[in-house]
């Protein structure tokens, strides 16, 4: 087991658009931690994983495992010498070997005794509940079963680190949920360090201790699921994790922004030097409809809420909620209301937002 330190890691692919796939990222992963790399496609998370596995050579920066520098522009320890197992998005279960042979492969490479190979393979197949299918070929397995084989094959060699590349993206929703917990369970029994790449924030929240949210080759924010959801550092983070309305506002006083002519109290504050244009983030389900009381009394009110006024542009009944699109005089806002709240399109409405639900992030 070992901690992983990534420092200034940079990689560009050769080609006409030599944009950096990974652009100087720093990341420290503690021993036994599960770190999720999350982000939209093309954000560099898979490249980072390939660099970690040793398939790619960095242009700059280093990867250190424990005390050992395993990747630098000068030298890359090859994948077979890194003691890192990788679970591929496509599972990469070898079609010409049975389940048992697939799992035993890494043990054969380690030149273990026949009986030890037998023991360890049998045991890990029990762990992933594949004992009955040990002598099947992969073409006779379902996607979920192949996934288990890939998992067993990766952990049976007791790697220092387990890398997972979108491991659940090819499974259907039910199986995905089950496997999320399965992976977490394997972590909790082995204590192995894991780096988990996914584009699915829920998957990351279930499986990971901490999440590194990536965008355009850089890390946008690192933190626990709670941190990232509750304290997004940028509008991108807030939008990507959980979804949010972003409204242009101006920070004018401590904890106070001006939006649409009204003054609103917000949860966060910046240095006096950073006052000026900010982005106001409000999640759709944190907004409530209020009774119409006339145009006076907009903005912050003494009961701890901010009041906004707008016109209903569209509403959609979703069974467990109603999805509203409301025009606030130029900017539009989504509101997730309880299904019983029924406002007709075109009507003028008041909205109440608790101060704690109003976050601000830098930017325009």
């Amino acid at each position: 087991m070992a901690r992983i330190d990534i420092a200034g890691l940079t990689k560009s692919y050769a080609g006409r658009n030599a944009a950096r796939a990974v652009d100087g990222i720093d990341l420290a992963i503690a021993d036994g931690e599960v770190m999720a790399l999350v982000g939209p496609s093309g954000c560099g998370k898979t490249t980072t994983l390939q660099l970690l596995a040793g398939f790619l050579k960095p242009d700059a920066g280093t990867i250190t495992v424990g005390e050992r520098v395993v990747s630098s522009p000068r030298n890359v320890v090859p994948p077979e010498k890194r003691r890192m197992s990788l679970i591929f998005q496509s599972y990469a279960v070898w079609p010409h070997m049975t389940v048992f042979e697939n799992v035993a492969y890494g043990l054969h490479v380690m030149k273990l005794s026949r009986s030890e190979i037998e023991d360890r393979t049998t045991k890990v197949l029990q762990t992933v509940r594949m004992t009955d299918l040990a002598h099947r070929y992969p073409s006779e397995l379902s996607g979920g079963q192949q996934q288990r084989v890939a998992l067993a094959r990766a952990v049976v060699v007791n790697p220092e680190t387990l890398l997972l590349d979108e491991p659940l993206s090819n499974l259907d929703a039910n199986l995905r949920e089950e496997m999320r917990f399965e992976i977490r369970r394997i972590h909790d029994t082995t204590g192995i360090t894991m780096v988990y790449v996914t584009h699915d924030q829920t998957e990351a929240m279930v499986a990971a201790d901490r999440i590194a949210l990536m965008r355009a080759g850089k890390i946008a924010q690192i933190g626990t699921a709670y941190d990232i959801y509750e304290k997004p550092a940028t509008a991108f983070v807030a939008t990507f994790v959980g979804g949010t309305n972003t409204l242009p506002a101006t920070l004018v006083e401590p904890h106070t922004v001006e939006f649409g002519g009204a003054k609103l109290k917000v949860r966060d504050d910046f240095d006096p030097a950073a006052r000026g244009p900010v982005t106001l983030c409000i999640r759709p389900h944190e907004i409530g409809f209020a009774e119409w009381t006339g145009d006076d009394g907009l903005g912050y009110r003494e009961n701890g809420t901010n009041r906004l006024a707008g016109t209903v542009l569209r509403q959609t009944y979703l069974g467990d909620a109603r999805d509203y699109l409301i025009d606030l005089g130029g900017t539009q806002i989504r509101v997730a209301a309880p299904p019983t709240v029924d406002r007709t399109v075109g009507s003028t409405v008041h909205l109440d937002v608790p101060v704690d639900a109003c976050r601000i992030v830098p930017g325009d």
Partner: protein, 571 residues
């Protein structure tokens, strides 16, 4: 009831459905092309020619007479050797080109393609020029160097035939293995690396087993090619008086013609072909890759380091022998007044081209015939294949899918066997076609119909029925939908099919040799006659013309149809 059906009948009468007409037409044409010849082949093999009575005497004579047994042994030696050598050369070559940073990979690949489109009998002709015992250029060069009276190489031998045929069979294994390596998901090898497998271990435990079906498929293709090949053994082994099955079949057609004996003698060829193709299909069908939604990954090439240049030199020997030297030999000979003098100033001339194209009516006619028969066969095969592929895919008629199987049937019939069947069927009334162009066109169409069919079948299957149904919901009839929706979508496929029949048809020798008469000679039969008579300038000139036509067509097709058009139907 009557009132309900009446309006429908009127509607049906207005737009008369041509479908059944096409269906019956297709059945008749397929009968002439495939069913009658194969039927006659089977029939005459068990008939006494004089009385027409049923007998097994033909089989007894064919397989107990000792002089007829030696060719079978020779054929097996030839085919096993050719397939083994071709697979042993083709596999590493494919790996070097598909997976390493070998310099000149593109050039090598282009040269392998050139060898693929070169008929091996032209290679045999070229190697006669290079390595005939006394007069071959390589032999003379070596002899003058060693002051020997004879050169060391004798191309007129079983070894010589194996050498030449192996060279031209390398592309089969190469193509299968290279595309296997390219389709092999990179994760399968990466997974081995992450589990500690060294590069060598990964190659041995993962890569090689996964491409083994491709290697075996290549071996089988080469074996079948070699055992059914007529041209190369005819040119290299008839002078050596070492017969193989195909040349023995040719001898049965010399006076007195023993068609019934030939039919019986050809049966093992048919059986072996059928059997091995079934085996091949089994092998390729098993243990399918069950990869789902992989990213494909960026393929990292294996760095060869210092071995790059020595390996390039070794790899280059293959195309050197199959393309560079043979093409140079044929070109130089076609440009020489007398080939034995060699391509020296004063001996250079364009005479033979003028002779072949303008002055000599014999060759002029042959060139015209090759193009004419090739074009006719390509057109007929494409039309029939389209109709049947469409009917079979859309299940328009009960039995339409059976017609598809009939279309593919000639695939298991070697050209030479097919020629015997066609000869047997059409050399007497009611359809006396021997001596006409029609019999050659039938032979070419039938031989290459499976190529056109499998190509178009894939293409038609890929067109979603909804595209057509959308047109029909908007009021278009089936024929109109076929014309305005399906045909335009198939344009590439139709052109590709046409070319895929035309190209082999203009180079076809093994069935033409049984069916031509002097009035219907083609370029290839003319080459055979010239070779027999020792006119190697004439041989070379016609060979260069065939190769030039082929290369022009292939390069034009590459441009318009993309690089993979030859490969889609090679499996």
């Amino acid at each position: 009831m009557t009132s309900a059906t009446a309006p429908r009948r009127i509607e049906g009468a207005r737009s008369f459905d041509l479908g059944p007409v096409f269906f019956i037409g297709a059945v008749v044409v397929l009968g002439i092309l495939v069913i009658v010849p194969i039927g006659w082949l089977l029939l005459i093999s068990v008939q006494t020619p004089e009385t027409g009575g049923i007998t097994f005497h033909n089989y007894v004579e064919a397989f107990t007479t000792s002089i007829y047994l030696r060719p079978i042994v020779n054929s097996l030696i030839l085919a096993v050797s050719v397939a083994t050598i071709a697979a042993l050369l083709g596999t590493p070559l494919a790996w070097l080109i598909a997976r390493t940073d070998l310099p000149g990979r593109k050039m090598l690949r282009a040269l392998v393609t050139a060898a693929f489109v070169t008929p091996s009998f032209l290679g045999a002709e070229a190697w006669i020029l290079l390595a005939a015992p006394n007069s071959g250029w390589l032999n003379r060069a070596i002899a003058s160097f060693t002051h020997a009276t004879h050169g060391p190489i004798n191309i007129f031998s079983l070894g010589g035939a194996i050498f030449v045929m192996a060279l031209y069979n390398v592309p089969y294994t190469f193509t299968f293995v290279a595309s296997g390596l390219e389709l092999l998901p990179v994760e399968l090898e990466d997974a081995s690396s992450t589990l500690g497998g060294s590069a060598w271990r990964t190659m041995r435990s993962i890569t090689l087993p996964l491409v083994m079906p491709a290697i075996i498929a290549g071996f089988i293709m080469s074996f079948l090619e070699a055992i059914a090949e007529f041209g190369t053994p005819a040119f290299l082994l008839i002078p050596a008086r070492a017969q193989v099955v195909t040349t023995q079949l040719y001898l049965f057609f010399q006076f007195p013609v023993r068609t019934e004996l030939a039919a019986a003698y050809a049966m093992p060829l048919l059986a072996v072909t059928l059997l091995l193709l079934i085996v091949q299909r089994r092998i390729l069908g098993r243990r399918k890759f069950t990869m789902v939604g992989g990213k494909g990954g960026r393929r990292r090439l294996v760095a060869l380091g210092k071995m790059r240049w020595p390996l390039l030199a070794m790899a280059f020997v293959i195309p050197l022998c199959s393309v560079v030297l043979p093409y140079l030999a044929l070109l130089a000979t076609s440009l020489s007044r007398i080939w034995s003098t060699g391509p020296v100033p004063g001996n250079l001339t364009l005479y033979w081209y003028r002779w072949a194209i303008v002055e000599n009516p014999e060759t002029r006619r042959a060139i015209f015939h090759s193009l004419e028969y090739g074009a006719a066969a390509a057109t007929i095969a494409t039309v029939i294949a389209l109709l049947i592929a469409y009917m079979a895919n859309r299940r328009l008629f009960p039995g339409a899918q059976a017609l598809g199987i009939v279309c593919m049937a000639p695939f298991v019939v070697p050209g030479i066997v097919l020629a015997i069947g066609i000869y047997a069927a059409y050399s007497h009334p009611p359809l006396l076609l021997y001596g006409t162009a029609a019999i050659l066109i039938i032979a070419f169409t039938t031989r290459f119909l499976p190529i056109a069919y499998s190509n178009l079948n894939t293409m038609v299957a890929a067109i979603n029925t909804d595209l057509e149904n959308a047109a029909r919901t908007l009021g278009a009839s089936r024929m109109r939908a076929l014309r305005t929706i399906v045909a335009p979508l198939l344009r590439r496929g139709l052109l590709a099919s046409w070319l895929l029949v035309f190209i082999p048809a203009i180079r076809e020798l093994s069935s033409a040799i049984f069916l031509f008469t002097p009035r219907t000679a083609t370029m290839t039969t003319q080459i055979f006659d010239f070779s027999d008579a020792g006119n190697y300038e004439g041989v070379s000139t016609l060979a260069i013309l065939i190769l030039a036509i082929t290369l022009v067509i292939v390069s034009v097709a590459y441009r318009f149809l993309g690089k993979d058009f030859m490969e889609t139907t090679s499996t």
